[in-house]
């Protein structure tokens, strides 16, 4: 379980006058849940990239449980993400030609030997998310099933946080709801902090707190609204 602390975070792209993301302060406690909403171009995806280390930030700090990610060199940042952050993306990013199980264990396999216990856990996770045949080729699954496999993959390394980028956007209503349920349930069960970028109300309303982004800044915060 990891807490998130953002301080003076700015993301600038060369050629652009104003930063695409500017967040003065944001704290998410360990085990907390946060929904990030906003129109396209509001900086949601940039926020995901910044807090997961997929992109180098141009200013400020992003700390996970006290570790400032922005100070880590690329290799260590990749390793930190692999160890502590479970990613779920809108487009799944599963690898065709491999089975559901192979997709779940691929990140570990590509960095080291897979332990039998990890394989066990992968099978168990696939069972939990409702994939009956772990050996089935990934490209023969339905979209809903694919996202379930992606959720299982995100959880395999027992990450302290799950970051989901529009996890239900490419699924139809009912399938999306099922995946939203699964995410919230499993994050709770595994004790992982959950941060979801989404415009899906079905997912938003399941999470404790919601912030709204516009022009790269936080313009809405349900926590502050409650406090006020």
């Amino acid at each position: 379980m990891l807490s998130l602390d953002i301080a003076d975070l700015t993301m600038r792209f060369s050629g652009l006058e104003t930063p695409v993301l500017a967040i003065g302060r944001l704290h998410v406690p360990a085990g907390g849940q946060l929904a990030v909403t906003g129109a396209s171009g509001s900086g949601k995806s940039t926020l995901v990239n910044a807090i997961t280390g997929l992109e180098r930030v141009t200013g400020g700090t992003v700390s996970w449980g006290g570790t400032d990610m922005t100070r880590l060199p690329t290799g260590r940042r990749d390793a930190f993400r692999a160890a502590h952050i479970g990613l779920v993306m809108q487009d799944f990013h599963l690898f065709p030609g491999l089975s559901a199980l192979e997709n779940v264990v691929l990140p570990i396999r590509l960095s080291r030997r897979l332990e039998p216990a990890e394989r066990e856990r992968a099978l168990q996770l696939l069972d939990t998310v409702g994939i009956a045949r772990p050996q089935q080729a990934i490209e023969t699954l339905s979209r809903g099933e694919m996202q379930r496999v992606a959720v299982a993959r995100a959880l395999l390394a027992r990450p302290g946080v799950i970051v989901a980028d529009e996890p239900t956007a490419s699924l139809d209503g009912r399938t999306g709801e099922a995946v939203a349920d699964l995410l919230v349930e499993l994050a709770g069960a595994e004790g992982a902090t959950l941060i979801a970028v989404t415009h899906d109300p079905a997912l938003t309303e399941r999470l404790d707190r919601r912030i709204g982004l516009a022009g790269g800044r936080i313009v809405e915060d349900s926590a502050k609204a409650l406090a006020a």
Partner: protein, 418 residues
């Protein structure tokens, strides 16, 4: 990792196959050039082994050597038969055998000589016996004539517009064991039969043969020649012996060989070591090989450049996949290994296939050369090929690193957006 690479290659089957085929073809080209040059060199060196010293009329050394070693048809000038007589009696000479070219039968060269040469080429016959009469012949291993078959010699070759000698039909009495040389295609007949066929013996004044030939007067057409097929062999030569194109000499010692060569290099005669002449030709052949090899290597450079282009584009198209691999926790070294590994696997497959195809091509060329010249050209790899192969592998390792390194240039987020 391997599973992932294989799954990936399966997805890009067509492209992967094209890359493998491209590499295979360019490698095959170099392999064929290298192997074939070696095969021709070894094959002809072995073919020349049995011919220590050749003595012929003054003229082209190369022509003399090629005619005797490869039985290449060419109008060689004749030298006096007295040379043969002199060589036969020389104490430094183990044996001296005349070689009379010019006729052919069904495309196979008919060579007039003596039993000495037959036994030098094939100490034991594969079947049958040596010729004992003027009308008999011993054939090379590759001549498709059975014992007892008749051979009608033709003056020159059929495709040169030669005419058939109707005066004689040789009967096959023996077949030589395979020698792996052009002589496997030769039909060996007594040299005196050749002389008589061409009307040379009479001028030399062998009266006794003329008398015996009376019984066959009805065979004598308007041709000035007259051959008695039943006449026995006479393998003694003297100053009156008719002219011959070449004499094959087996000197007793190496020193004798050099001395004899020195002595018979004069105004009217020429003496050569065929092996030496061939070595000079190989030098030329070697130059041709260098040129071909340079072309082959140039082709490889172009192919590798094309492959680089393809893979860089391919990696561009795969940026998303590479970004995803990194986003989900694959370390950079794994991504590097995957992209590099995929390309290297293709290089290796192309390399292996190219060697196989090149070897097969060289074998096919050798086989077709052997079919027309009977000179066996051994296709084999040599130790000097190893550094060449290692260089290629080293280059393949380097070249396949380029797209791998370029794949890691972008941050995972930018790669995912690609």
């Amino acid at each position: 990792m391997i599973r992932f690479i294989l799954a990936d290659l399966r997805r890009f089957k067509a492209g992967a196959l094209a890359v493998v085929v491209l590499i295979a073809l360019s490698v095959a080209l170099s392999v064929t050039v290298t192997l074939q040059e070696r095969a021709v060199r070894l094959g002809s060196a072995r073919a020349a082994e049995k011919f220590d010293l050749l003595v012929g009329a003054a003229g082209s050394e190369t022509q003399l050597a090629l005619s005797a070693v490869f039985l290449q048809p060419s109008p060689l000038p004749l030298m006096s038969g007295g040379v043969l007589a002199k060589l036969s009696d020389d104490p430094r000479v183990d044996f001296a055998a005349p070689v009379g070219f010019g006729d052919s039968a069904d495309g196979y060269p008919v060579v007039g000589t003596t039993t000495t040469l037959v036994s030098a080429l094939s100490p034991a016959l594969a079947e049958g016996a040596f010729f004992t009469r003027l009308g008999e012949a011993v054939v090379g291993a590759d001549v498709p004539k059975r014992l007892g078959a008749e051979i009608k010699p033709m003056h020159g070759a059929a495709d040169e517009g030669g005419h058939t000698h109707t005066e004689i039909a040789y009967t096959v009495t023996g077949r030589m064991a395979p020698t792996g040389t052009a002589w496997d295609r030769a039909i060996l007949v007594p040299i005196r039969a050749v002389w008589q066929l061409h009307g040379m013996e009479e001028k030399a004044g062998h009266e006794d043969h003329d008398h015996e030939g009376d019984a066959h007067e009805d065979h004598d057409h308007d041709h000035e020649a007259h051959v008695d097929a039943n006449a026995g062999l006479d393998e003694h030569f003297d100053a009156a012996t008719p002219g011959i194109p070449a004499v094959l000499v087996k000197p007793k010692t190496v020193a004798d060989a050099y001395r004899l060569r020195q002595e018979y290099r004069g105004e009217t005669t020429l003496a050569v070591f065929p092996a030496e002449v061939l070595t000079r030709l190989y030098a030329t052949l070697g130059d041709a090989r260098s040129l071909l090899l340079a072309i082959a290597i140039g082709t490889q450079v172009i192919v590798i450049a094309a492959i680089l282009l393809v893979t860089v584009m391919h990696v561009g198209a795969r940026q998303r996949q590479i970004g995803a691999l990194r986003a989900f926790g694959a370390p950079r070294r794994s991504v590097l290994a995957i992209v590099w590994g995929e390309l290297f696997v293709l290089f290796l497959a192309g390399f292996a296939l190219g060697i196989a195809v090149g070897y097969a091509a060289a074998e096919a060329i050798s086989a077709s050369l052997a079919a027309t010249t009977a000179v066996r050209m051994p296709v084999e790899f040599a130790r000097e090929d190893v550094p060449l192969a290692l260089w290629f592998l080293f280059l393949a390792v380097l070249v396949s690193l380029v797209p791998a390194v370029s794949a890691l240039r972008l941050s995972p987020a930018r790669a995912l957006r690609a």
